[in-house]
Amino acid sequence: MKRLWFLIPLAAFFVLAAVLAVALKLDPREVPSPLIDKPAPKFALQRLDDAGKTIRLDDLRGKVWMLNVWASWCVACREEHPLLVEFAKKRVVPLLGLNYKDKREDASAWLARFGNPYDASLFDDEGRVGIDFGVYGVPETFVIDQNGVIRMKHIGPLTPEVIATKIEPLLKKLDA
């Protein structure tokens, strides 16, 4: 037994290497949200396309729906946009946009140019609802269940993998 003691530093090295390897793969920008499995914050916002109409959280109760936070100034949003357009065509669940800290004209022009995948976009020019949803890196995507509980949050642009391996299985599970 004592003869193997010289292996201890080697073992320690491998443990350290494993810890560092795992840590290297973690993205410090992906901060786990405390809002997962909590009721979505209440909101009442104007529609982007119609300032006269207000959408409230309670309007969506009873449905599984998705909220995608976007802005015309957000470069990564443009990157994920074709995926959202594609996803919206499948009409699995209602997809709402949260137009975050944007100008109405800019946002409308952006949708006209790149396509509008949203059933409606909420106009959050002051970013207050964004703060309530803990938004810090646009784009972000939330899945909210029938009871208004946030079930998933994705930070950063969606990818086909995230949609196929996380969002669609979750929607299936939620029986959307």
């Binding site: 901060v31 786990p32 405390p34 809002l35 800290k101 309530d132 810090y136």
Partner: protein, 163 residues
């Protein structure tokens, strides 16, 4: 070194110094200095999520500006410091706190360094203890004791020592 190069480097260094002098905390927006001081004190303990190594008080990221605005508003509503911090952690998690609370998930963070130090000290103590018990001939003699030229020690064959 060409003079033009030195001048360019000098100019760049000067510009950097000037930029450093300009980079101060974001300008206050409220007329009430007491409220502003309280807001700054609270937000100086909170991490900005956009630029994670800056505090919300320091950062000029638009989210930090908004969160300072929210903090001002909460304080105006008569909320306590604790309530403002709770407002932030409810939305962004313990990650916003520069002093994370002691929980099962943060125990490693709090005690890890001390534990590593203790392990290191224990190993050192063990090794030293064992060495004091070892007989003198277990160690190689000091080179000075051998009365040799320091250069000769570099060549094992010259010292006649078994490699």
């Amino acid at each position: 070194m060409p003079e033009a190069f030195v001048k360019t480097v000098g100019a760049i260094l000067l510009a950097l110094c000037a930029a450093g002098a300009l980079a101060k905390e974001a300008a206050p927006e409220s007329a009430d200095p007491a409220l502003e001081a309280r807001m700054t004190r609270i937000t100086a303990e909170l991490r900005c999520l956009v630029c994670q190594n800056q505090t919300i008080a320091d950062s000029n990221a638009s989210l930090a500006i908004d969160l300072r605005r929210e903090t001002r508003e909460l304080l105006r509503q008569g909320k306590s410091d604790r309530e403002v911090v709770d407002y932030m952690t409810a939305r962004y998690g313990d990650f916003v706190l520069y002093r994370p609370p002691l929980k099962a998930t943060t125990a490693l963070l709090w005690f890890g360094p001390a534990a590593m130090l203790a392990v290191g000290a224990a190993v050192l103590l063990l090794v030293l203890r064992r060495r004091t018990k070892m007989a003198a001939d277990a160690f190689e003699p000091d080179e000075d004791d051998e009365g040799e030229q320091p250069d000769a020690a570099a060549d094992p064959a010259a010292t006649g020592r078994n490699p």
